[in-house]
């Protein structure tokens, strides 16, 4: 089959545009995340906002009220200034911009994948560069769904970190020119098996990131609780803050006011994102493993042979099965389950990179030799 190098170059331009868009989105979400204190909270962020409000001195709240009362609405003989349009704070603007460039980058990546397929005249997921691109596209698609649904832009920031890293590695170290495939990959199973693997891995990445955020948030809340308890013991909480007036050291504010983690979505929201992503991706992943076994029966003479790739896929499958069970077991919910989800994703990445590039086996098609 003839390959079209010119179209391949156009596809790579699309890939670079996507990477640029993702980097821009990462920066935008990063700025939004860094400046998110004081911005309009999502429903999920309201919890942490309330916690912070509690920790602030009471005067701040009173000030706002006083100011509102003193506001001269319209005095006689004075031209009332037109009310300034309510402008969303800087951070929220960046969040919105991040969402837009992320969407544009995603479109560019879809374009890149389609043109790559046209250039090669086959399914555009036949080597590690193409697989990484598909994986990132799936992760971005998954996070776009989450972002448009929940508006928790901090998730965008955290998802874009691994996506940008993977895209960068894929576009430089793993990149290969458009080429036809070795006979071992001439099969419609390539279409089915690798598509299912890449899509499920991408969505599992969203789950893994949500679980990492869950663990960060859980740690933050533990510290918050610990300091609150400490403050309760020392009695400083009982002294009316309005009397002191000074911005003295108040223990919870040291965490709540300084930690960016306060703007993460609530634990319940993060747990739900991780769980939802997993129950979408896990059956697809299971299907991918079964399809892989059916392909192995056609290609290698047995449906399962404990090839390193197969073994590692099995390990990941078992870990995700453990995650789903842990979420339904008393004493294993919450942080423990989140750790298992993170472990599952680490095993998936391990399977993708270490097994393909370091361990030799039947799946050594990386095309990097």
């Amino acid at each position: 089959m003839m390959v079209n190098d010119q179209l391949g170059d156009i596809s790579y331009l699309g890939f670079q545009a996507a990477l640029a868009g993702y980097i821009a989105a990462l920066v935008c979400f990063g700025i939004e995340f860094a400046s998110s204190r004081g911005s309009t909270p999502t429903a999920a962020e309201a919890v942490s906002l309330r916690l912070r409000a509690e920790s602030r001195s009471r005067t701040a709240v009173i000030d706002r009220k006083v100011g509102a009362v003193d506001e001269p609405d319209a005095r006689i003989g004075q031209i009332a200034k037109p009310q300034r349009a309510v402008r969303p704070p800087m951070g929220a603007l960046f969040g919105r911009a991040g969402l837009i460039v992320l969407t544009i980058g995603f479109a560019a990546q879809l374009f890149s994948i389609v043109t790559r397929g046209m250039a090669a005249g086959r399914a555009p997921w036949g080597n590690m560069y193409e697989f990484t691109s598909m994986l990132c596209a799936a992760a971005v698609a998954g996070s776009l769904v989450v972002l448009y649904r929940t508006r928790s832009d901090s998730l965008g920031f955290f998802v874009m970190i691994p996506v940008v890293i993977l895209m960068f590695v894929g576009g430089t170290k793993l990149y290969v020119q458009v080429e036809s495939l070795v006979p071992a990959l001439h099969s419609y199973w390539l279409l089915i098996h690798v598509l299912a693997v890449s899509l499920s891995t991408g969505v599992l990445m969203v789950a893994g990131v949500a679980s990492v955020m869950y663990l960060l948030r859980a740690r933050y809340e533990r510290r918050l609780l610990a300091e609150k308890a400490w403050a309760g013991e020392s009695g400083s909480e009982l002294v009316p803050a309005a009397d002191t007036g000074s911005h003295g050291f108040t223990p919870q504010s040291s965490v709540a006011a300084t930690s960016r983690l306060a703007s993460l979505p609530s634990l319940a929201a993060l747990d739900r994102v991780a769980y939802r992503a997993t129950i979408v991706a896990f059956p697809v992943y299971t299907f991918a493993v079964i399809a892989g076994a059916m392909w192995a029966e056609v290609a290698w003479g047995r449906y399962w042979g404990w090839d390193p790739k197969e073994t590692c896929a099995f390990v990941s499958w078992v870990i995700y099965a453990a995650y789903l069970h842990a979420r339904a077991t008393a004493g294993w919910r919450g942080s423990k389950a989140a750790w298992i989800s993170v472990l599952g994703f680490v095993s998936v990445l391990f399977n993708l990179f270490v097994i393909n590039l370091v361990v030799s086996g039947l799946h050594s098609y990386a095309g990097l030799n």
């Binding site: 070795v182 006979p183 896990f282 299907f287 003479g301 404990w306 073994t311 086996g361």
Partner: protein, 577 residues
């Protein structure tokens, strides 16, 4: 038994009586048998708890890892042997502990057998519970529906029965039960999503089925591999009459090789195509085969065997797994007799620089002990597109464009009678070391070129053949494995997607509305028109109905909200909106 899993044993009494007994009472002593039974029961409970299952799952994942990271005997014998040699006593220790045969090791078997025992111990009571649940009617309506996660209170107009009929008509695909409480209040309890538990059970039973199918495959299946030169003619056909016919045969534990369902196969032609850069683009082997009634006749079927496209004969599958080159040498002995020999050479790189040995074990014109001093071995490299650089021959392209060999000739006793197995790709170097095999000429030859040994024997490189490696596989249970894999997937999906949820309706006369309406109507007629107030009173006393709705999702509350509001709307229009 300090730890006990809440999900599985919640509500269960401590097995040994626990600490409920007061210290004054004499401690209750169980008999020896009772203690043994209690111990077994506790062990069983511990094993079947979800906590243990989780730990076993982790152990399974952990124990599988060396199978991926260390070389395995079953995958690559030479690499494993080399690894053990390279790692000295550590290698030997790991080998003894089964780390190079993880999936056949006792500790791995122990983990998955315990896991499956735990699974069965969990599944059986769950299945039994589930059967009980299906037979039960939906539970009574709770007294206070406002305390449920989903709650709504709506007014409606009409008779209680009509509203209840309307609501139940909309509850298609729900199991529901209509009851009447005191005071004529009608309640409807409905539940849905039993398929979740069905899917859950199907998933786990499919795992068991899959394990059995795999085990049957390991017991009764076999694999055999062979190498055939393409285009050798009819006499070279391979027939799978016994395991000996194969170059390598890996039988299942209960296969003795007597009942193989024989078939014959011969390779007429092999064609490998390459791109300009030397990347393979296709492999096709044109083969002839016969099986069943065709055997012992001249009736052959023809087909093309390709990668990813095996031939299926009577439950056995024939695969094209690899290919390579067999250089052909013609030896002309001093007596004038000629002999032609060929042997498959093993590819060493992507361009098919191949290494091997052609052995001439019965030189013509020699008898008795002389045979063992005149055996010949031609050892060396074959390159389909030969290039000599720095005295070393390598191949620059995988297709045979300018074939060449770089060989070393040995003469003497090849040591074939020692009884020890010999590699077909190499000679027994011990024979060289002890002087029985003498190193002679060395030469680089193109097709047609020859070299002459000291005794006048002429060795000509006459050409090459292409060999293909084929594999026969037989697994009687793989169809079942597929069936269980599919049911596993279906079960998994329904157990993850379907949600168990309940909804209750309590349909009764709205007392407060009746009072309010009565209070509003009695003292002063609304708008001075008696007809309006009279109407109000009629509606209030007979038809103003209050419907309390409560909803509960068993597993994941999120996502039930939308459906719940649709259920609430049933009260008004009786059709799901």
């Amino acid at each position: 038994m300090v730890t006990r899993d809440a999900t599985h044993l919640s509500g269960g009494l401590p097995a040994d009586g626990g600490d409920s007994g007061s210290p004054v009472e004499p401690p209750f002593r169980q008999g020896r048998l009772g203690r043994a039974v209690a111990f077994l029961r506790n062990t069983w409970r511990q094993l079947t708890s979800m906590r243990t299952a989780l730990v076993l799952l982790f152990l399974l994942a952990l124990a599988s890892l060396p199978g991926a990271l260390l070389p395995q005997w079953s995958l690559n014998t030479s690499k494993t042997a080399q690894y053990i040699v390279d790692h000295g006593s550590w290698g030997l220790l790991l080998n003894r502990l089964g780390f190079f045969q993880v999936f056949g090791s006792p500790w791995y078997a122990a983990i998955y057998l315990l896991l499956f025992a735990s699974l069965i111990g969990c599944l059986l009571p769950r299945t039994w519970d589930f059967v009980g649940q299906i037979r039960m009617k939906p539970v009574n309506t709770p007294r206070n529906l406002a305390r449920l996660p989903h709650h709504a209170s709506v007014g409606a107009v009409g008779s209680l029965d009509a509203i209840a009929d309307r609501t139940t008509a909309g509850l298609r695909h729900w199991r529901f039960e209509r009851r009447t409480e005191t005071g004529g209040v009608i309640t409807i309890s409905a539940e849905k999503g039993f398929l979740r538990e069905v899917g859950n059970l199907v998933f786990h039973f499919s795992l068991l089925g899959l394990l059995v199918a795999i085990a049957i495959g390991k017991l009764f299946g076999f694999e055999g591999s062979l190498i055939i030169n393409a285009g050798d003619g009819a006499g070279s056909a391979f027939c799978s009459v016994s395991p000996v016919a194969y170059d390598n045969f890996r039988p299942g534990l209960l296969v003795d090789g007597t009942d193989l369902d024989p078939f014959c196969v011969d390779v007429d032609k092999f064609k490998a195509s390459y791109t300009e850069t030397g990347q393979a683009s296709s492999f096709v082997a044109a083969i002839r085969y016969q099986s069943g009634a065709q055997l012992n006749s001249d009736n052959w079927s023809s087909t093309n065997l390709e990668v990813n496209d095996p031939l299926r004969i009577q439950g056995q599958r024939l695969y094209l797994l690899g290919h390579g080159y067999s250089p052909v040498f013609t030896v002309t002995y001093p007596g004038g007799q000629t002999q032609t020999g060929t042997a498959p050479f093993q590819p060493q790189d992507a361009n098919f620089t191949s290494q091997g040995t052609v052995k001439f074990t019965d030189p013509p014109g020699y008898v008795g002990a002389q045979v063992r001093t005149h055996q010949l071995a031609i050892v060396g490299l074959f390159a389909p597109s030969a290039m000599i650089h720095g005295g070393i021959m390598t191949s620059t392209f995988p297709a045979a464009q300018t074939p060449g060999v770089a060989v070393q000739v040995y003469r003497g006793n090849l040591g074939m009678e020692t009884g020890a197995a010999q590699s077909i790709f190499d000679i027994d170097t011990d024979q060289v070391a002890n002087g029985q095999l003498v190193k002679l000429n060395r030469a680089n030859l193109a097709p047609g070129e020859s070299m002459t040994l000291d005794d006048g024997t002429r060795i000509a490189f006459t050409g090459y053949k292409e060999w293909v490696s084929l594999q026969t596989s037989y697994d009687p249970a793989q169809g079942w494995a597929l069936v269980f894999a599919v049911s596993l997937l279906v079960g998994l999906m329904s157990s993850l997607i379907i949600k168990r949820r309940r909804v209750w309706f309590r349909i009764g006369i709205d007392q407060s509305a009746a009072q309010r309406a009565g209070a509003a109507a009695d003292p002063r007629p609304v708008g001075g028109d008696g007809r309006v107030s009279g109407l109000t009173r009629t509606v209030a006393s007979e038809d103003r109905v209050q419907v309390e709705v409560g909803g509960l999702a068993r597993t994941d509350q999120a996502g039930y909200g939308d459906e719940f509001s649709k259920l609430v709307a049933l009260v008004h229009d009786g059709t799901p909106s």
